[in-house]
Structures are given as structure tokens and as C-alpha cells.
Amino acid sequence: MSSPPTKTTKNKTTKTAPSRPRDHLSPEDHLEILKQLYLARYFDVRLIKEKRRGRLTGTLYSSHNQEAILVGTLFPLKPSDWISPIHRDMPAFFLKDMRSGWENPDRMGMSIEEVCAQVWCKVGSPGRARDNWSHIGSRAKHIIHSTSMLAGTIPVAAGVVLADRLNGGDAVVLTYNGEGSTAQGVFHEAINFAAVHKLPVITIVENNQWAFGTPLELGCPTPDVATRADGYGIPGLIADGQDVFDVYDKVMEAIEWARAGKGPSIIECKTFRAYGHGDHDDDRAAKYRPQDEVEKGRSRDPIAVCKRYLVERGYLSNADALAFAAENKGAQEAKDDDFPPDVVAYMKKGVDYAIASPSPPAEEGGMWVFSD
């Protein structure tokens, strides 16, 4: 035993253009993807500002700099597919099935109003403000509700698609996880089960290098989290988490694999957490994370990366690319006019609704313990 085993998981990006799933996207799709990146970023920026103004009570787990993962994973889904987002994935709730139309009331995603009502802790939330932050979901919209317990939703996801298969469906499910969460026992139990039964469970690992105050190497023994897939004999892909199209390609591969009945996979998206773990951690994070690491990690803004690609491909003019300069701006710097007006207006509807929505009546605290 003189050398450690060679690694099977490698970045499978280096294919040539013709077979890339992204090439089936229309020019409009490309622009829509950029728009969704703006929306995800604006949502986050807006909430951070609201929180600083003292208008929100909960902790904010910013998805800044990680938006390409959300947009890139959600865009390839069918409406009937399932997802289970966690704390850092708030925009996923409304980005799901955005392709069916931002204003379409029947789309299989939450409305911005519902999501904002949740953030504002109002009764208009799909969970009527009974559990906090990202712990919402919707059976109707095929969004799994999570608890706080990290990785705890992966077995649930497996059960959902098990049932779906029994019902003759062909849905896949995407579960979202931080790299730190992959250390949980239930991560193993669930993926093992899914692999045994070749269930269409796609585990998205948002590897932002930090789990709260703990760096990757103290939570995971291998430099790539995708390596965890090797233990189950399932594909482990690595995507550039700053590049929405690379994420899109990898997820599309995984979806096809899963829908064909070949089973689960893990997609590691390499990224970097822009701020503290939550907004309460911003100041401390500045101490435990080296400044140069932070600068490097934030140097490839997903909006900028996307724009560059769109310009290269001729989908976006240079002038349009410069029009809304949200990229490379912190939450405080970024102004409303750094974003397309329809993005700002969309969010405004959500915020207005949330503010108008009442707090839940106290007696509801005692309700719904049991179903009758």
C-alpha cells in the first residue's frame, strides 16, 4: 500500500462544444438566465439592506456569489421535478420553474410574494411563519420542506422519487447541500439507498469552501467533495459554480442519467461564500478567513462570467452588458439601478405583499399539531 488510490472523479468540463446541453438553449434562454442571476442577486442585496435597516428579524444566509448554482441547476428542470433547497438557497423557491413565466400563477415554483412573506415572518408565507428562513416548501409545487438538520432532507427526497416512480412518474429531485453537510450520517444513508435503487436523486453540493467557521479540509478528507460519489459507484461531477452554463451542463447530464433510470449522482459546484455564514457572522468571518482568500473567492462574479459568455456568443451587446452593473458590487454598494427595472419591480411586489401581510394570529401556535 505504497500509494493512495487514484482519484476517479475529475472535472468533466473539457468536452468540445457540439455536445454541450447549453447549446440547445435559445438566445432568449441565455438572456433569461442572465435575468435570473440578476433577480437572485437583487433579492439577496435587498434583504441585506432591509435587515440593516432593522426590518427583518431572522438571520440571513446570503447566496451572494453563489447564484449561478441556483439558476444553473433549476433552469434544466421540468416543472414537475422536485427540489429541496436549504439555508443558502432562498432564491430557489421562486426561481423554480421560472421558465413557465415569471407571472404565471400556475408555475411550479413559489411566488415572490410567498417567499417575501416568509422572510418578513408574515402569515402570507406558505408555512404561515411557523418555521424560519428557508424552512418552507410546497407539496403542490414540488418543493420539499427542510428542517434545520443538515442533509436531513436527502432521504426525504429519495422517498419522494421512490413514490413518484411507483406512481409512474419520471421526476428527478435536486437536493441542495453545503460541502460541510456532506459529513452527516444521513447523507450517507440516503445516497446509499438511492444508489441501491438507482433513484433519480441528484445531490448538488455547493462547495463554498467554508462550513460556518470550518474550512473544507476539516470536514472532508478529499480536496473534491465530488469524490464522495466514488464510494457509491455513482457519478461525481465537478462544475464551475461561478459559471451558470457549466452548472447547467453538468446538471443536464445528471438529469438525463437519472431519468434514464441509471440512478443518483453528486454534482459539486465550486464556489466561495462571499460574506459571513449568516449576516450575524460578517464581522467574525473577516477575522477567521484570510482577506486574500476572500478576494480571490469573489473575483469571478457569476453575473460577470455569464455576461462575458453571452457577449462572446453574440447574445448580448457590449452596450447591454454595461447597462446594469450589479456584478462585483457588495450588497451595500449595489443600487437599484444596477439591476434591470423589471427585476426590481418584481421584487418590489414581493416586498409590498410581505409588508402588508399580517403576523399570524397567536392561536395558530396551538394548531396543526395533529391532522384530523
Partner: protein, 334 residues
């Protein structure tokens, strides 16, 4: 001819198996998850025949992963299924604990009623069999303390079948404690009704009527209490024995009614004493029936120890007919 044929009595285990079988038949959306429940038919044979009858897509031999068993069940319920999840021994439920108390039990609450969780988690429980620390537990109190789960514990074949049916038709998660010492104890075999029936969750049964003291219990201790009641006749003590059958929800009315008559009570169960369900009953009595009490309510429980292996040790820590009779005498003397 069939009419004159003598009906066969059935044991506790068969009663559970029949309920599972009939509900699998009745409800095409029901699936079963557990370790060794299919090909083998379960460590005790409770699920024997289910896989060959209903197929591998309704009966799953799961990996040894209690958290995944529960979590997968939660997902299946979320997507329209009814789930029976077996713990090979109820002791191993601790390995799936988080999924039960934080995910399954709270799902309905968190979603303001959007999602129901029709799951029954069942498994062999209880001591008196030399099973030692990890094959003897009665850990119902952990779950009674976790809002959102119903908890039942039948003591007869009739109840075992009827409560299982009720549990599998309930929209809420139900923890179903079965006593492995009762599985094949022929002394309690019963003829079961031909027709479909349920034993409603939340209703106690009076196993023996009496005027002097109420003995509140459930599970296999029911039989220890009945034996103790017989013994107490020698002391001219006429004991009433209540078999709770359901812990959550609890049939408080049955307890209060009995106490109005007897004014004295003891509570018997085999779980560890501190924070066990016996204590809960004492507290409920204090809140709802204090005015009827002529004596303190005493508990006969396991000592605050694990269940040890050797027979001598196990008997020492668990409730016995003698300990029950003695406690009853003591409240009657008060």
C-alpha cells in the same frame, strides 16, 4: 359446515400480520420499509408473506439505515403514500431519532396542515426476555414528549389488529409498540372478528373492574397487573385494571372515572422511572382528579437503569407482580 367449524384463535403476532396484510390489500398506496422484512419476513416473522404477495415495489428490504428508513418514509408520505416502517427492535429507533422527532412529527405543524404524514413506525419492544440493554427497551416516553406523534401499545391480539388498522388509516404518524414477549404467548390467543374493525386510538380498556384501587398500565404489564389484582383479593383489595392502549392521545376520562370510584391509584410501566409515561399519568391525575384522591399515586416502573442481561438482574430492575401488589397495598393502607 363452515358455520359450525370452530373458529381458530390467533396470537398477537398473527393479529399484527393480518392487519398489515389487509391494509396492504385495501390501500394500494401503502408501502412497507424495514430491515429484513421482505425476503426473510422480519426478524420475528411479522411481515412474513408480504413481499411475495405484494412484490418488491411495495415491500422494501432496506439497508441497515434507520434514519433513511424514516426519512424515505417521510418523502413517500409527502408524495402520497402510506408507510409502514419497521424497526427491527424498537431499541434501534435511536438511530433514526432525529428524522422522527424533528422531521416526521413536525411536518404537519410546520406546513400549517398542508402535509399529512400517514406513517406507522412499529417494532418489537419490552423486557422480560433476557434481551439486555439493546433488545428490551420501552422508549415510548421519548416520543410522547415529541409533539406530533401518536403513541399506541396494544396488549391483546384483538387490540393489536384493531389498533394497527386504526394507525394505518390515521393521517398522523403513529408509533406502535408491540411486545415481543406477547407475540406468540398462546395464553392470550383470541378469535378475531371476520369483519374489518378498528380499535380507536385514544380509548382505554378496563381489563378488570374493581372498587378499591385503580391500576393504570399498558403493554405486557397488563398481565402482571391482572395477576397482582388476583393476589390482592387475598388482602380483600378489589383492584381495577386499566389498559391505556393509547398513550398519545390519552384517555383521561377513563382514568378520572375510575378514580371517582376508587380514590386510589398506582401506575405501572416498564420504562425507566424518571420522565417516563408513568410520571405523566401521575401529573395528569394531579391536574384533573386531585379532589378524588385519598392517597398518593405511586409508580411501579423499571428502576432508573438500563435493562441488564442476566435473569436475576433483569427481574431486579423491572416491575413484578410482587412489586405491583405491594404498591397497591401501600396506597390502600394510606
Amino acid at each position: 359446515m363452515a358455520a359450525t367449524q370452530e373458529k381458530t384463535k390467533k396470537n398477537y403476532l398473527t393479529a399484527i400480520r393480518e392487519a398489515l396484510d389487509e391494509e396492504m390489500e385495501r390501500n394500494p398506496d401503502m408501502i412497507c420499509l424495514g430491515e429484513d422484512i421482505g425476503l426473510l419476513g422480519g426478524a420475528f416473522g411479522v411481515t412474513e408473506g408480504l413481499m411475495s404477495k405484494f412484490g418488491t415495489h411495495r415491500v422494501y428490504d432496506m439497508p441497515i439505515s434507520e434514519a433513511a428508513i424514516v426519512g424515505v418514509g417521510v418523502g413517500a408520505c409527502l408524495n402520497g403514500k402510506t408507510v409502514m416502517a419497521e424497526m427491527q427492535f424498537i431499541d434501534f429507533i435511536s438511530c433514526g431519532f432525529d428524522q422522527i422527532v424533528n422531521n416526521l412529527a413536525t411536518y404537519h405543524y410546520r406546513t400549517a396542515g398542508e402535509v399529512a404524514m400517514p406513517m406507522v413506525i412499529r417494532g418489537p419492544a419490552g423486557g422480560y426476555g433476557g434481551g439486555a440493554l439493546y433488545h428490551s427497551q420501552m422508549n415510548e416516553a421519548w416520543f410522547a414528549h415529541s409533539p406530533g406523534i401518536k403513541v399506541v401499545c396494544p396488549s391483546t391480539p384483538f387490540d393489536a389488529k384493531g389498533l394497527m388498522k386504526a394507525a394505518l388509516r390515521d393521517k398522523n404518524p403513529v408509533l406502535y409498540f408491540e411486545l415481543k414477549q406477547l407475540y406468540r404467548w398462546s395464553a392470550i390467543d383470541e378469535v378475531l372478528p371476520d369483519e374489518d374493525y378498528e380499535v380507536p386510538i385514544g380509548k382505554a380498556a378496563i381489563r378488570r373492574e374493581g372498587r378499591d384501587v385503580t391500576i393504570i398500565t399498558y403493554g405486557q404489564n397488563v398481565y402482571h397487573c391482572l395477576d397482582a389484582a388476583k393476589k390482592l383479593e387475598e388482602d380483600n383489595i378489589d383492584a381495577e385494571v386499566i389498559d391505556l392502549r393509547s398513550l398519545v392521545p390519552l384517555d383521561e376520562a377513563a382514568i378520572v372515572q375510575s378514580l371517582q370510584k376508587t380514590s386510589r391509584a398506582i401506575v405501572v410501566n416498564e420504562a425507566p422511572r424518571t420522565c417516563g409515561f408513568a410520571g405523566e399519568i401521575v401529573a395528569r391525575i394531579s391536574e384533573t382528579a386531585f379532589q378524588y384522591l385519598d392517597a398518593p399515586v405511586l409508580r411501579v416502573t423499571r428502576m432508573d437503569t438500563p435493562v441488564p442481561w442476566a435473569h436475576s438482574l433483569e427481574r431486579y430492575v423491572l416491575p413484578s407482580v410482587e412489586k405491583i401488589a405491594e404498591a397497591a397495598r401501600s396506597v390502600c393502607r394510606f
